[in-house]
């Protein structure tokens, strides 16, 4: 059974803003699915509908076969959510927050304590458990916030931008934890605008923009959208200006864009022979050359037709 299914979801807010425009997704049980898109793409609206927090204007959504509108109480037994931009109280402690979340799930005191201890240890928060959240760093507070979701026994965990504010080490630790939860059979639906996060974690990726799904599938399937293509990055000294003749030559080899502030040219080449010519040219001109694998950003650029500011 699929953990999440939506069909033609449309959400039009008061005032006429269309946040979702016929979104259909399907997330298998035990998968990590990632909604990737820029701010305002509709990610949060979609997860809020799935999480029974928001009613859609039209369309259907199911969680483990239960309709999120008519059977919301059954859905709520099966999910746990960390809303975007949520926070913990500053005057409580990590223990208070996570233990509270465990009790909300209906666990008795002993089980709630056991689970709270486990989560705090796995999030490296155990030694800070009795400190006020006010005294913790922003990243640690974010971990406490995520801990409230992880302490549950919910089959579907919905994490809306979970790694915002985390340093790279904490982010990687959380990724590891999320993979462990998947190995335990949990389904995870997360939104992010970090492409690296989607590439690292997702079994299934949904690229979303302006309330529409642009592409979906596994990482390889999504990357295959741009076809067999090499992305070359040429770095030249910013003290030099790149000549028109240089650009004319590069133009013959592939599609390019120049970032003069960074002293960087990005070239997309499809033909391997042209790739070799470009490599030789770069070596002759003493440019630093990097051949990159296509990324989700490249897919986005291809689908949207422009660079999308995924990073804030």
């Amino acid at each position: 059974m699929d953990a999440v299914v939506t069909r033609d979801l449309v959400k039009i807010y008061k005032g006429g803003v269309k946040a979702l425009d016929g979104v259909s997704i399907s997330v298998g049980e035990g998968e990590i699915a990632c909604l990737l898109g820029p701010n305002g793409a509709g990610k949060t609206t979609l997860v809020r509908i799935i999480a029974t927090q928001l009613l859609p204007t039209s369309g259907e959504a199911y969680v483990f076969g239960y309709n999120v509108i008519d059977e919301s109480n059954k859905v709520r037994e099966l999910i746990s959510v960390s809303p975007q931009e949520g926070r913990v109280y500053l005057t409580t402690t990590p223990w208070d927050e996570v233990y509270f979340a465990a009790r909300i799930r209906g666990f008795n005191r002993g089980e709630a304590r056991r689970r709270t201890e486990e989560v705090l240890k796995r999030l490296d928060l155990w030694e800070y458990r009795n400190k006020k959240n006010l005294e913790l760093s922003g990243g640690m507070r974010q971990k406490v916030y995520i801990g409230r979701v992880l302490v549950s026994d919910a089959r579907l965990l919905i994490l809306d931008e979970p790694t915002i504010g985390l340093d790279p080490i904490a982010r990687r630790n959380l990724w590891r934890y999320i993979r462990e939860l998947k190995n335990e059979g949990r389904t995870i639906l997360l939104t992010t605008h970090y492409m690296e996060e989607a590439e690292e974690l997702a079994d299934r990726i949904y690229l979303i923009n302006h309330g529409r799904i642009l592409a979906s599938g596994s990482l390889d399937e999504v990357l295959s959208i741009i076809g067999r293509k090499y992305v070359i990055q040429l770095d030249y000294s910013i003290r030099e200006t790149i000549s028109d003749s240089d650009l004319e030559y590069i133009c013959e080899l592939g599609v390019y864009s120049v970032d003069p502030n960074a002293g960087r040219i990005r070239v997309e080449v499809e033909d391997p022979d042209k790739l070799l010519k470009l490599v030789k040219y770069a070596v002759d001109r003493n440019f630093t050359l990097t051949i990159k694998q296509p990324t989700l950003e490249d897919v986005f650029i291809k689908l949207v037709g422009r660079e999308v500011e995924l990073y804030d």
Binding site: T52, Q53, T92, F100, I104
Partner: protein, 245 residues
């Protein structure tokens, strides 16, 4: 049922913990309803103090439901606690109950002080505390929806304090809560009957046998409380919402 009780009690403890860690805030909450009572005692003497004490009890208990509006807005808009709880097994009624019971617990010290001062002023049959407490709780249940209506409709946390305080002022000073009903000219008295707190204060005074103006009497004011409660709950169900539309 057991899980439901666990959720409500967990929410109460969670909401009270920050407050208990800030004794000064707690003290302010306890002292605040006493301030008008002191004012009335100074300017109206013993009788004023007696009326002021009844007013203090009514506001301390009944208004706890109104002041939950601040929590609702804070939890919904700023910390997103409501979103977190909506997507959990917690039910709407459990949330409202947990929020308002937490506030009610905070009012217990004021109530105890009020009962003691009332006794010191004019010793009464202790058994009267039973109907008096029932009346105060009826006021609490009656006004609980007002907090939720404000909490559901106000999106700007900086506005909610002003709105709840304004509502509290109307309910406590425009209505004869701290002062006798017969201080008000008869034609205005009719208007005060629209304000639900008038009936709670009158019922408390009738029970304690301190009013010279029984107004609508025990039965009449009780009916008024039931009607007011029904109207407020209907409005809150129509206006408030657990899930956003």
């Amino acid at each position: 049922m057991i899980k439901s009780l666990r959720r409500v009690s967990a929410l109460i403890v969670y909401l009270l913990k920050p407050l208990l860690k800030q004794p000064l805030t707690f003290l302010t909450i306890v002292v605040w309803p006493m301030v008008p009572m002191i004012f009335f005692a100074v300017f109206m003497g013993r009788e004023g103090m007696y009326y002021g004490l009844v007013g203090m009890l009514v506001t301390a208990v009944s208004f706890t439901g109104i002041y939950t509006a601040q929590d609702y807005v804070f939890n919904r808009v700023l910390v997103k606690l409501q979103d977190f709880l909506v997507a959990s097994p917690m039910k709407y009624i459990e949330y409202v109950l947990g929020e308002s019971l937490a506030q009610l617990i905070i009012s217990i010290p004021v109530v105890l002080i009020g009962y003691i001062l009332l006794y010191e002023l004019n010793p009464y049959n202790i058994l009267l505390l039973i109907p008096l407490t029932i009346v105060l709780l009826a006021g609490y249940f009656m006004l609980m929806p007002i907090g939720f209506i404000i909490g559901s409709k106000v999106d700007d946390p900086s506005r909610v304090n002003g709105i709840t305080n304004m509502v509290a002022i109307i309910l406590s000073f425009f209505a004869p809560v701290y002062y006798p009903l017969d201080y008000i000219p008869p034609w205005i008295r009719l208007i005060t009957y629209i304000i639900p707190t008038t009936h709670i204060a009158q019922l408390a005074r009738v029970i304690l046998n301190v009013t010279k103006a029984p107004g609508l009497g025990l039965f009449g004011h009780s009916i008024a409380v039931v009607i007011s409660s029904a109207i407020l709950y209907i409005i809150s169900i129509k206006v408030g919402g657990w899930r956003e539309v």
